[in-house]
């Protein structure tokens, strides 16, 4: 199927790549189906794009690409809410806030995705030292 995307225009997606966020994302509770799209061949940036609304889209990164010593402790309850507890099938992304003069990453509220069940959730890291606005400067290119 083809969806209209905020940053990449019309994109052909496979229905099996749709990730369901049962609770939506905080602030965007009505939107529950997303896909993760590459934003280019040579960039660490990806896009978490709503399947159902072009304008609901977030630039995301693998947090370790920008913060190699990033540490997270996700509650088992959160992990189990999107499938069996199997770390090998978990992807973690940080949502970026991009302004003309700054890029920050929300490191205290990462998005976790179980790639087996294709279910996702934005979690709150309780007792974390990080903030919603970790400044990202000159993130390295992928590869």
């Amino acid at each position: 199927m083809t969806i209209d995307t905020k940053y990449l225009g019309p994109v052909e997606i496979d229905e099996k790549d749709i990730i369901v966020f049962e609770e939506g994302l905080p602030g965007f509770e009505d939107f529950k189906r997303y896909v993760v799209l590459d934003m280019g061949d040579d960039t660490i940036f990806r896009c978490l794009q709503s399947v159902d609304c072009r304008d609901v889209a977030f630039v995301i990164i693998n947090p370790w690409d920008a913060v190699p010593d990033y540490e997270i402790d996700v509650d088992d309850a959160d992990i189990c809410s999107i499938g069996e507890k199997d770390y090998s099938s978990l992807s973690v992304y940080a949502i970026l806030t991009i302004k003309p003069d700054s890029i920050t990453a929300n490191l205290i509220g990462p998005v976790i995705i179980n790639t087996n069940t294709m279910r996702g959730k934005q979690v709150v890291l309780v007792n974390s030292q990080y903030t919603t606005r970790y400044s990202i400067v000159n993130p390295e290119r992928k590869g």
């Binding site: 602030g27 940036f45 304008d55 977030f58 309850a77 890029i103 309780v126 919603t132």
Partner: protein
């Protein structure tokens, strides 16, 4: 909303598994201890509000700023 008055060291029970105890009250700040099962998330409300607010900001990024970022990286 249920409103209860409690003194220091007095407890409130919520459901079968959660207990809240008032540990200290000083200068307008209440120190609270919470015993809850691991699968019950307990955190400051400001934190979830902040994440929601940041999502709205992140989702509102201008297409121009994002395209520029991708093109320059």
């Amino acid at each position: 909303m249920l409103v209860l008055s409690r003194k220091v060291n007095e407890r409130i029970v919520i459901g079968d598994n959660i207990e809240v105890v008032i540990l200290d009250v000083k200068d307008g700040t209440v120190k609270i201890g919470i015993d809850a099962p691991h699968d019950v998330k307990v955190f400051r409300k400001e934190l979830s509000d902040e994440i929601k607010k940041e999502n709205v900001l992140a989702g509102g990024a201008s297409e121009e700023a994002v395209r520029e970022l991708i093109n320059n990286n």
